[in-house]
Amino acid sequence: MVRIFILLCAMVLSSHAADAYESNCIKCHALLPYSLRDIFMRYLAAYGGENNVKVGLDHYFKYPAKDISVMPIAFLNHYGIDHHSKIKEDELKKAIDIYWKKHKVIGRLK
């Protein structure tokens, strides 16, 4: 019984987080010419390791600015920069974690 409860909780939490990623990230980025994977690879090339990438993403969401963006100048000039994120702290963290897991390179090369 306890196991089923924990499983359900985990499913609810994960679906909630996935919702946060999909509703807050995919929804907006679907309209842009750069896919979320492209942006991830740019973050990866700029920041390197997992923690660094996550910190970089987190910081950008909180303090978006042209000079710290990993996107090309032409892209920024055309589309501008995003507004300050209104996502809650823990929700943002979970969304970033999902983003990392979805696109990470480690364990996917052969």
């Binding site: 990866l44 090339a45 390197g48 390791g49 997992e50 660094n52 390179v105 480690i106 996917r108 090369l109």
Partner: protein
């Protein structure tokens, strides 16, 4: 002064050996340290030279590999096959030192140096990426180390190191000899002097002793008898010294003339001979003798016993006791005298070593004993405590 080398002083004294040993140990240690240090520098230099010879090639490989990583970065995940190259193995690590992908055979990874040899003999070249393609900051390239440079380096170290050791050892012996020459010259001079003077002692000494024996003691007064007695003691002391010096300079080179010597009778005879000396200090002999035979040159055995008795009298206290115990294969002579300090015992056999200057002599008695003991493969042991006495044990 030019001094010819006497066969008797050919062998080094224990103290001389000790000085030589100490000097050579220090010298060899210093020399070895310097050689090891130079070898280490040479080895490291050879390793650097090897790295230098391979660095350009590996840099080119790294440049090519980075280009392939860039392509993969841009096509990932549609293309996810890590680029391979038959000329080398490679691996990529992110800036948090997490492995992204590796084809390396060695797991000896070092992020702190740009080129190194692993414990399993692979050369690792580390290239830092400025743009982290696939998240990689560190690109490791691995090629096998054929070990030729190492083999050559070790060969040179052994050959030149060995030659240096031989050279410096010869120089060391030369320097040590220079240091020891003054001491050796003094000993040779003393030997030469003794040898020359002993020749002149024999006739007068024999005459004195023979005439004392011939004197009819019943026909002389008590006062004169005492004087004759004193002359007898003095003559016997000189005779003992003469015998030692003659042995040192001449007789020990003579051919062996070994026989079965009955030691009990010999000791009794020598105790009687030394009795007159012992009485001057009121020393008592306590004998516990059992019949014992030893195959030895009688004269040499007499020198051993005489010197032991002479020392036991010389270094005994007034009214002291000399215990003499004789068993089948063992002779023990113990006194109740001044004794010797533990630290000085190893040096008592050195010639001209005298720890007590209050008594006469040249300090050659125990040196003679040691020579004879060693010649006949016997064993000598000295047990002594200051102010309690000394016991000398000879086993054969």
């Amino acid at each position: 002064m030019q001094v010819s080398k006497n066969k008797a002083t050919n062998s080094l004294l224990a103290s001389e050996k000790k000085s030589l040993f100490r000097f050579l140990t220090l010298y060899v240690l210093m020399m070895m340290s310097i050689i090891v240090l130079i070898s280490l520098f040479y080895y490291q230099n050879q390793e650097k030279m090897m790295f230098l010879s391979k660095r350009d090639m590996l840099s080119d490989y790294a440049y090519e590999q980075i280009k392939k990583l860039k392509v993969l970065h841009n096509t990932f995940p549609a293309q996810n096959t890590y680029p391979r190259d038959p000329r080398f193995k490679s691996a990529i690590y992110d800036l948090e030192y997490v492995k992204i992908f590796s084809l390396l055979e060695s797991d000896d990874i070092d992020f702190n140096t740009d080129m190194y040899i692993t414990y399993d003999n692979k050369i690792h070249f580390v290239k830092t990426l400025f743009e982290y393609y696939l998240g990689a900051k560190y690109l490791f390239l691995e090629i096998p180390d054929d070990g030729e440079w190492r083999k050559e380096a070790w060969e040179n170290i052994f050959i030149f190191g060995g030659l240096a050791i031989v050279f410096f050892t010869i120089v060391g012996f030369y320097i040590a000899n220079l240091f020891l020459n003054p001491m050796r010259s003094s000993l040779l001079l003393l030997d030469r002097f003794i040898k020359d003077t002993t020749h002149e002692l024999n006739t007068p000494l024999s005459t004195i002793l023979a005439n004392i024996e011939m004197i009819d003691k019943s026909s002389i007064g008590e006062d004169n008898k005492k004087k004759i007695n004193r002359i007898n003691i003095a003559a016997k002391t000189v005779s003992q010294l003469y015998q030692d010096l003659t042995y040192l300079t001449l007789e020990h080179d003579m051919h062996k003339n070994d026989e079965n010597v009955e030691t009990k009778a010999l000791i009794e005879n020598r105790v009687e001979y030394f009795d007159i000396l012992a009485k001057t200090k009121d020393i008592t002999f306590v004998l516990d003798l059992k019949k014992s035979y030893i195959h030895i040159n009688r004269h040499k055995w007499t020198r051993v016993i005489d010197n032991l008795l002479s020392n036991a009298i010389k270094y005994n206290n007034r009214k002291g006791i000399i215990h003499i115990t004789l068993r089948q294969n063992m002779l023990t002579i113990g006194d109740t005298g001044i004794g010797i300090e533990m630290a000085k015992i190893p040096f008592v056999f050195d010639r001209y070593i005298r720890f007590n200057q209050s008594e006469g002599g040249f300090g050659i008695g125990l040196s003679i004993i040691k020579k004879i003991i060693e010649e006949y493969n016997m064993k000598i042991e000295i047990k002594s405590k200051p102010n309690e006495g000394t016991v000398v044990i000879i086993k054969w």
